[in-house]
């Protein structure tokens, strides 16, 4: 119970001291805000990229057209050749007569022309449909398949898909670097804010020590102060995240530029993301103040 009394008083003191060192507190909080906005952005990007790449993965198929000069043995051998390419997950064969049948079903005009073709005359090509494990490497895989001698041409998805993925992955990497740099800067600011509080309360601390306050009781107000800074700094990013993402989602109607990129539904996603942002803010504040306490409070 002594524990709770000490923590309770620490929270009260910490709020007072955030107010007392207002300008430096504000600097720390602003820095936390910037950091967390970028954290929130990268959560949104990462989650969406993960989401749509796995969606794409389900649909995206490489179509390999087999040369009509290849004989039956060549065609069969192709299947194992393709399967041996590392990124290949699944290979299915679709013969040209299958394709003919499908097309005839789809359109009467086709049907009239095509029904006269026999197997020899059929100008369509046998195909292999290939699913890949990692769609980021889909273009390499497609090239590898294209290099097989019995393959004429290779097609996959819309040409821009892999570029799009690369763009998003780059954005993600950049934001991670930015977050790390900003977290370091934020910690530096928090350390200095707390240092100032420690100095302004030197006398109080020395009296606390004299009358027998435990090290925990002496340190905890400063750590709580750091956590409060982190928490206050997370409010703006959380607001931006929740309202920003909702309006973005509604504005674009749940998709980005093209139907290929479906956005993650705002609920409950944004609430989890908001939770993560708040927790990161508090942890950054706690670690920053913990460092300051260790450095400037030798107890």
């Amino acid at each position: 119970m002594r524990f709770f009394r000490i923590v309770g008083r620490s929270i009260r003191d910490a709020f007072k001291s955030v107010g007392r060192n207002f300008s430096l507190s504000l600097a720390s909080i602003s820095c936390i805000i910037v950091t967390l906005v970028i954290v929130a952005l990268s959560i949104v990007i990462t989650y969406n990229v993960d989401n749509f790449t796995s969606e794409l993965k389900k649909d995206l198929t490489i179509v390999a057209f087999v040369s009509n000069e290849a004989d039956k043995a060549d065609v069969d051998k192709l299947k194992t050749d393709i399967q041996e390419i590392s990124n290949v997950e699944k290979v299915t064969f679709k013969s040209k007569s299958d394709i003919k049948d499908e097309m005839m079903k789809e359109d009467e005009a086709f049907e009239n022309v095509m029904k006269q073709w026999d197997e020899e005359e059929n100008p369509l090509q046998n195909t292999y449909l290939i699913k890949v494990k990692d769609i980021e490497k889909i273009s390499e895989t497609a090239t590898a398949i294209n290099n097989l001698s019995a393959i004429d041409t290779v097609k996959y998805g819309e040409g821009m898909v892999d570029q799009l993925v690369t763009v998003f992955k780059t954005a993600q990497k950049v934001s991670i670097v930015a977050v790390i740099a900003l977290v370091l800067m934020t910690m530096f600011l928090i350390v200095n804010t707390i240092k100032l509080t420690i100095f302004s309360r030197k006398r109080e601390i020395s009296i606390m020590r004299l009358v027998g306050a435990s090290n925990f009781a002496i340190k905890i107000p400063f750590v709580v102060e750091g956590m409060i800074l982190g928490f206050l700094g997370s409010l703006v990013p959380v607001g931006l995240l929740i309202y920003g993402y909702k309006s973005l989602y509604n504005y674009f109607g749940g998709r980005l530029f093209t139907d290929i990129i479906k956005l993650v539904k705002p609920e409950p996603f944004i609430y989890y993301a908001a939770g993560i942002v708040v927790v990161i803010g508090i942890i950054v504040g706690m670690i920053g103040s913990g460092r300051a306490v260790r450095k400037y409070l030798k107890v």
Partner: protein, 232 residues
């Protein structure tokens, strides 16, 4: 009954200065003891070792059965809770009033809220400041400020009250009042008092146990009433 014991205590500071040489002494429970000696004779060092601000380089210090020299840093607070400490410069919080200054000592150790008020009022009554609860230190005389400091030191009912020149900043009349107050606490509460002082008039008049230091050595240990003014 013996309460404080120094066994062959030597204190050498990091810069090489030896402040206390091979000191042996004993203070009884409920004793009122003056520590005297010239400037630099090691009085403050002796006191600092009592409340474990400094650690002896060699030897043993025992307070109420507790080996203070063996105490780990993280546990020093347990010793401090059983002590009251008063300094020459009062060390009050300027932005807190009299009541808050005394209550601070209890809050800092996580005392119960409903325990704090009666204890603070009792301590302030004992030092005669019950009428000045809401005053700030700046508006008090030196003697009154020292009374606040004493109230803060005794609010947690310590077994031992340690004072380093508590009258150093006060005129002779106020000084005597403060020592009278310490004597009253010693008698009423049974608190053992160890007081460092330069003031020969006080030591002469009070006829207490007196420990005289000279250049870090024990010069003489006068039993109660034995003290005679010698040039140290």
């Amino acid at each position: 009954m013996e309460f404080i014991r120094f066994n062959n205590v030597t204190k050498q500071y990091k810069n090489g200065v030896v402040a206390i040489y091979d000191l042996n002494l004993s203070i009884e429970k409920g004793d009122f003891c003056f520590i005297i000696g010239g400037s630099g004779s090691g009085k403050s060092t002796l006191i600092k070792m009592l409340y474990r601000e400094e650690k002896p380089t060699r030897g043993e210090i025992i307070i109420g059965g507790l080996k203070v020299n063996k105490l780990r840093n993280a546990n020093v607070y347990k010793l401090r809770r059983k002590l009251g400490i008063v300094f020459q410069d009062y060390r009050l919080l300027p932005k807190s009033n009299v009541y808050e200054n005394v209550a601070f000592a209890l809050e800092a150790i996580g005392a119960k809220k409903k325990e704090i008020r009666p204890k603070v009022l009792k301590a302030l009554e004992l030092v005669g400041l019950k009428s000045k609860l809401r005053d700030y230190p700046d508006n008090l005389s030196g003697g009154e400020q020292q009374r606040v400091a004493i109230a803060r030191a005794i609010v947690n009912e310590p077994k031992l009250l340690i004072c380093d020149e508590p009258t150093g900043n006060l005129d002779p009349v106020m000084s005597m009042e403060i020592v009278d107050l310490l004597e009253e606490i010693n008698k009423k509460e049974g608190t053992t008092v160890v007081m460092v002082t330069h003031d020969k008039v006080i030591v002469d008049k009070k006829k207490k146990h007196v420990i005289a230091l000279k250049e870090g050595h024990l010069y003489k240990d006068y039993k109660e009433g034995e003290y005679i003014d010698e040039i140290l």
